[in-house]
């Protein structure tokens, strides 16, 4: 191959490169320049070859980067300079960023010149900065969220853990990375959470679960989680994103709501209770006055003492029931509750109020043992609220029928009144908090919404059918306890 052919081949190769390539002689004059350089510097070949380096490179680069001295140094020492960054900011020209290398060219032990390679990486740098900015933005979204956001691999091993998770659970991401998500749940919930990961893998749909988490301080924290599959660009599940919400605060508000509703219900009962308690008091008082003022027979003295004793027992029973009702409920304590006994107890509490309103309450259906898993005070409140509503719906008296049935592993309690009923448009709002048709000061509008929460808490349901002017039927369904 002739020298001309080689020359042409090398020129082609150099021209095909997306980098700028200059061959600089020892005297710092340009020996060759490729097409990319000529295009970028808007020069022709004849305006470049033989010219000094400082004539072809912009003054800014020359001054700022001291390129001439570096070229000189490379020639003198025969040492390459690799991958240095050069920022080029000329007035009126957007910032350019180059990577440059200097490669000395030696022939027979003698350095004859140096190759200057320059790559314009402005766009790459801009793109990578953009990527970093987007990444930072996304990271700050995840970290600013007040919900817990955790990502795991397909097996449930933790990959990332946001600031809310650090704050609420006390563990920093470094301690968590690689640990199994379910390890952090309370022992009783671990199997269920592990199941969630298996289900996501199979069905690739979001899963919901509530579980108790152990914080670093070993405190239990109830968290409601939504687990979603993390998909890659081809739609394959590569992991799981879990978004969790601390339910502690919500549960606290719910408990407070239930408590305030209880107080409101107590207010309703107060009239009835005053009457109920003053009767035994009046009997005791009378019997005591007889004993004090009369020279009575032994038999009559005994009679008076009996009346006093019974009266006191009656009054204490009323107070006892009242305390049982108004005391704070232990929401976390679910035990086996006999629904029949519970409904009967509730009826006993309401009997006087019902009698005063001339309402007859009939109990029918299964009246033997009906066991459900639940919190007795809450279930009692559920029935108390429904019965109070039924009584309230019948200002001129009437009949409330309570019917209990068991079928398909659940118990159905139907409470039917012969009262005023609910209009179609109001039926849907019935379970909304603060919805009430009572005049101001006579109803909080919380009763039925609390009934709904209590039924839900017991994995049950509550619904209503009503005909305006003919009465309503509320049906509470609760799962029967299998134990």
């Amino acid at each position: 191959m002739s020298a001309t052919r080689y020359e042409q081949l090398y020129t082609m190769l150099l021209d095909a490169m997306p980098s700028s390539v200059l061959l600089i002689a020892q005297n710092l004059r340009i020996l060759s320049a490729n097409r990319n350089f000529l295009e970028k510097s808007q020069r022709t070949l004849s305006e470049t070859i033989g010219y000094r380096l400082e004539d072809v490179l912009p003054a800014v680069i020359l001054e700022q980067m001291n390129i001439a001295r570096r070229v000189q140094h490379a020639i003198e020492t025969s040492q390459s300079v690799k991958g240095e960054r050069m920022t080029y900011r000329a007035p009126g020209v957007p910032l350019r960023i180059y990577y440059y290398s200097l490669i000395p060219f030696a022939w027979q032990g003698q350095t004859e010149g140096v190759i200057l390679l320059m790559d314009d990486v402005t766009e790459q740098v801009r793109l990578s900065e953009e990527v970093r900015r987007v990444e930072r933005h996304l990271a700050s979204i995840v970290d600013s969220a007040s919900d817990l956001i955790v990502s795991t691999d397909r097996g449930g091993r933790i990959l990332t853990w946001n600031a809310a998770a650090e704050r609420l659970l006390g563990y920093v991401v470094a301690e968590m990375r690689g640990r199994g998500f379910s390890e952090l749940c309370a022992a009783g919930d671990q199997a269920e959470i592990q199941d969630v990961f298996t289900r996501i893998e199979k069905r690739r749909t979001a899963q919901v679960a509530e579980c108790l988490f152990k914080t670093k301080q070993a405190l239990p924290m109830l968290v409601s989680w939504v687990f979603s599959p993390l998909l890659d660009h081809s739609g394959q599940t590569v992991g799981v994103v879990a978004v969790g919400r601390d339910l502690t605060e919500r549960r606290k508000i719910e408990t407070e709501l239930i408590q305030s509703q209880k107080l409101a219900a107590l207010g309703v009962m107060a009239g009835g209770i005053a009457h109920e308690i003053r009767n035994p008091l009046a009997i005791c008082s009378s019997a005591a006055q007889f004993l004090l003022e009369e020279k009575c027979t032994h038999a009559f003295r005994r009679e008076c003492a009996d009346k006093i004793y019974q009266g006191i027992q009656r009054a204490s029973l009323i107070i006892e029931n009242l305390l049982k009702y108004s005391g704070p409920g232990a929401t976390s304590l679910m035990v086996i509750v006999d629904l029949v006994a519970l409904v009967r107890e509730t009826l006993a509490l309401l009997a006087h109020h019902a009698a005063l309103q001339r309402v007859e309450i009939k109990l029918s259906g299964v009246l033997t043992h009906v066991p459900v898993q639940g919190v007795a005070v809450l279930l009692q409140q559920l029935f108390m609220n429904l019965l109070q509503n039924a009584i309230k719906a019948m200002p001129n008296g009437g009949v409330v029928t309570i019917e209990m049935r068991t079928a398909d592993g659940e118990v159905q309690i139907r409470i039917t009144d012969t009262g005023c009923g609910v209009t179609k448009e109001n039926l849907g709002k019935l379970f909304d908090p603060f919805y009430t048709t009572s005049p101001v000061g006579q109803g909080t509008g919380l009763g039925l919404s609390i009934c709904y929460s209590i039924a839900k808490l017991h994995n049950g349901s509550i619904d209503v059918v009503s005909t305006e002017g003919h009465g309503s039927t509320f049906t509470v369904k609760l799962p029967l306890s299998l134990k």
Binding site: A274, H275, R278, P280, I283, K307, R358
Partner: protein, 138 residues
């Protein structure tokens, strides 16, 4: 039973309350009939010329104030004393009932026997001033 010995009517759904009131009344020399409901009270009023009645405010089948109205229709001028743990002395409903003459007095439960005796003492002149030996009619 003669009109001059017209007994008192006691209406309360609590048997023990009737026991106490009857004992006070008979102790004071009166006699009485007791009823546990408005229906029973009306039935008794049809047969006895009551001049005084002690009524509970809340009965299983009626309101004490309603019963007062119905008894007055039977025996105009009958003196009605409402005895109840349901209302307070200064309850607007009670004040209004006394002002309108619907009831003569209100006694709150629990009460002092003296209050009941005062209510008997304030009976119209034609009421019997019977002695202690009058047998109780309970």
């Amino acid at each position: 039973m003669t009109p001059s010995h017209s007994p008192c009517l006691i209406v309360d759904d609590e048997p023990e309350m009737c026991w106490a009131l009857a004992r006070i009344l008979t102790g004071a020399g009166g006699s009485c009939q007791t009823a546990a409901s408005a229906r029973e009270a009306i039935a008794l009023a049809a047969r006895h010329p009551f001049r005084l009645a002690f009524l509970d405010a809340k009965l299983p089948d009626a309101d004490g104030l309603d019963l007062a109205r119905r008894l007055q229709a039977f025996h105009p001028g009958i003196r009605i004393v409402l005895v109840s743990g349901y209302f307070y002395q200064d309850d607007p409903l009670i004040t209004a009932a006394i002002q309108s003459g619907q009831i003569a007095a209100f006694i709150a439960k629990p009460f002092a026997h003296a209050e009941i005796r005062r209510a008997i003492g304030a009976m119209p002149k034609s009421a019997p001033a019977a002695g202690r030996e009058t047998p109780p009619v309970i």
